[in-house]
């Protein structure tokens, strides 16, 4: 027995060593380029996890020779890491899927101004920070879906309609821990004031068909299943369901209609995925090149196509599916307000018992 144990240990150790050897070579490859910067590299922290983003990074490396090193994480934790690393941070760029979070990063002094005419030309003012600390790359709208057979779309034209008596116990929405809902409420605080927003949140809680649970897709499935009649979700999830490998998801999505809320009034809530240049960036020039690349027409097309998001560059058309849903009016709102109101939004949700 003793022998066997030792043989197993030795085999295991050998396999570690060989793995370590492989691991080291690849790591050395990464770090050796750091010092001179002939071609250079950039270090990116990203909260977006789409496979297609990686394809864009690869494309950038191919075109420019600049290596893109990536750490993918959860947005909040990446901010915390940047914060702790401070000046010493190796990161040059930070990408996240929520304007509120970009604002938080800016407030903590983690970002710096991007000076680039290309970027300013490609991306409209309203999708950029006032001081160009962050730049929007893609847009997503938070819309209402309804069951085509059970709901008259006339009844559900605004976010406020969700709180009407018609939809008592019929509303499906995610939990308060979800950033998209926090940002939606933050936008309503900016538009209707804290009191109006509290009233709205409390009306939503009263009309909830069930305790909030699951992701955006689960809300849509809930409508198809008859647990509720209307649901709040991001546009791209519906796109994904309609193009799912699973036949039943497609069938469920086909039963749903889509409403861009508040068209006659304040506009539909829109959020962005955006990128910021870190205050500590050590490869600033290359990092700005990268941001410029992401705002170009070809990159924007790819962004939009892959994930059913709306491109932030107005010269680029959205995909056919999105076009079929029509154009819509957006909230007239500086997106930094999402970040400023985030804290208040969470407190309101806690107060009204939004689980």
């Amino acid at each position: 027995m003793n022998n066997r144990f030792f043989i197993i240990s030795i085999i295991a150790l050998l396999s570690i060593l060989s793995l370590a050897a492989c691991g080291n070579t690849s790591e050395d490859g990464d770090t050796s380029e750091e010092s001179n910067g002939a071609k250079g590299e950039i270090n990116l922290y990203t909260g977006r996890h789409y496979e297609t983003d990686q394809e864009l990074y690869d494309q950038f490396t191919e075109e420019t020779g600049i290596q893109v090193n990536v750490i993918k994480g959860k947005d909040d934790e990446l901010i915390a890491r940047l914060d702790r690393e401070g000046k010493a941070s190796e990161a040059d760029l930070f990408i996240t899927a929520d304007a509120g979070r970009l604002h938080i990063a800016k407030e903590k002094g983690l970002l710096q101004e991007v000076k680039s005419d290309t970027v300013n030309k490609n991306i409209p003012d309203k999708y950029r920070d006032e001081e160009n600390n962050w730049i929007g790359l893609t847009k997503r709208a938070r819309i209402i879906t309804y069951h085509k057979d059970r709901v008259n779309p006339e009844d559900i034209q605004t976010y406020q309609d969700l709180t009407s008596d018609t939809f008592q116990d019929k509303v499906l929405i995610r939990s308060s821990s979800n950033i998209y809902n926090q940002s939606l409420l933050a936008s309503l605080i900016a538009i209707d004031g804290e009191e109006g927003a509290t009233k709205w949140a409390s009306g939503i809680v009263d009309n909830m068909a069930r305790d909030p649970k699951g992701g955006d897709r689960d809300q849509a499935i809930g409508v198809a299943a008859g647990e509720g009649d209307v649901a709040v979700m991001n546009t791209y999830y519906l796109g994904k369901m309609l193009n799912s490998e699973e036949e039943e998801q497609v069938k469920a999505a086909e039963q749903l209609g889509i409403i861009f809320p508040n068209q006659e009034t304040t506009g539909t809530h829109v959020n962005i995925s955006g990128i910021g240049l870190t205050a500590s960036s050590k490869n600033k020039e290359n990092a700005i090149k990268f941001i410029e690349f992401l705002t170009t027409k070809s990159a924007q097309e790819q962004f939009a196509k892959a994930n059913y998001e709306y491109p932030a560059n107005p010269d680029v058309e959205p995909t056919e599916l999105l076009k079929s849903w029509g154009e819509f009016k957006e909230q007239e709102l500086n997106l930094t307000e999402l970040g400023e109101n985030n804290d208040t939004a969470i407190k309101i949700m806690n107060k009204v018992g939004w689980k």
Partner: protein, 546 residues
Amino acid sequence: MKLYRKLPGYMNLWTFLSLFIVILILLPNVSILLNFFTQETSNWQHIQEYILPLLLKNTSIIILFTGILTILIGTSLAWLISAYDFPLKRFFKWGLILPLAIPPYIAAYTYNGILNYTGTIQTILRNKLDFTVNQDYFDIMTLPGAIFIFTVFLYPYVYMITRTFLANQSSSLIENARLLGGNAYTVFFRIVLPISRSAIVGGVSLVLLEVLNDYGVVKYFGIQTFSTAIFQTWFGMGDLNAAIKLSATLMFIVFSILIIEKLLRSRRRYSQTSAKVRPLSTIQLNGWQRWIAFSYCSIIFGLGFLIPFIQLIDWMLLTYRKIIEPAFVTLIGNSVFVAFVGSLIIVTFAVIIANFARMHQSFIAKTSSRITILGYSIPGAVIAVGIITVFIKIDNLLFGVYESVGMQPSLFLSTSLFMLISAYVVRFLAVGFNAIESGFDEIGSKYTEASRILGMGITKTFIKVDFPLIKGAILSGFLLSFIEILKELPLTLILRPFNFDTLSTKAFQYASNEQIQEASLASIIIIIISGIAIYIFHQVLEKGPR
């Protein structure tokens, strides 16, 4: 040598090493916990007023029921397998550990995928039988649903530790009880449960800590617990201070439970008296009894492994063309590498501390053994930030050293795997430690004392006497840590170096985009590797000396 002799008895290599490790573990935690002593913020009042009661309620319900159910299932299975023979028992022996290979949050997504409206069961009912069901009956995203997920995927902790214990040590007591005419129930309740108490507690405390820590399942199910609230307070409200207060409240609960248990157990210790440790002889079950035992094991195995695994395979077949790529080989290499190195360090540290703690019944010894659990009781993200803080300090201190070897001053340690692996050690030391501690408990101190009386030093005694006896426990500690690290998520996600992906980060990448079908391939590979690990170590344990 003379000087050494003059030192008090407890001042030896083991003591120093243990204290050193304890400090290593404490450092990142302290850097965070210091915030606890700062002023209360208005957010804390808000939390107390609006969410704390709900958090306490939800968390206590989940802990209570998961605790009871994992104890019932874990010990009953351990007892069945150790004491009886029935069909497929040899397979169940290790097969029942397999649910541990499935990360609970993946299990949560998978079960919802099976049960929801577009899921397998409802689809068949609807399309084949034209039968639409009430959604409430198929809703797993509830408090009981979360308890179900935790129970079914975490009971193996209790099962494993208790079974190892029963197999190795209980034979004389149990056989005596049988000879004296005790029936199966008396033996189980009057002998098995009391003597395996420390093993059960070891197992169930791992389960509970894992539950308290979980973020993935409860967030997906929309259940507010301490871990979701800590995240929301810290990141959403930007209030680290209030988040730490929540963490501290959580830790207070954890430590109270552990201390109460210790007090209840008081001085009851069971030490092996016979020189020969014999395996427990098993009883052949007959007739309907064997089928009941068989069905019970099958149901648990089915729920905890087979059903979700088949669903994942089904999804993989749907999606693999889109996502398979050569890079998966690197992912496997990375995952296995960090898990192996991490676990190796963990068991080494755990053995040192456990041996120190049992040699000395001093306050320091007792405290250090409890401190190992610290990293396991705090949510991963909180530890991660503590670790980053410490490493950046160290890197700053080392800038001079880096320069002297011709490197640019940079964050060398904090952008290397070193940081990630250290984090694993801080986090999962408790896993290795609990297994090894119960191994020491099991052999008692008779042999060690004899060896010491006969003049051998602590270290020599350890190598010649203790190590061979606890080899099994060390291996199970290693195995548990290995699997834990393999499926670990929050630390890996935030502390990894650039371009370093593992299987679990890959699975998360898809799951976080609500593409659970696409996450199946990486999940399956995690499960298979953990499964192989479970099997290999099972074989080693089986053939080892008792």
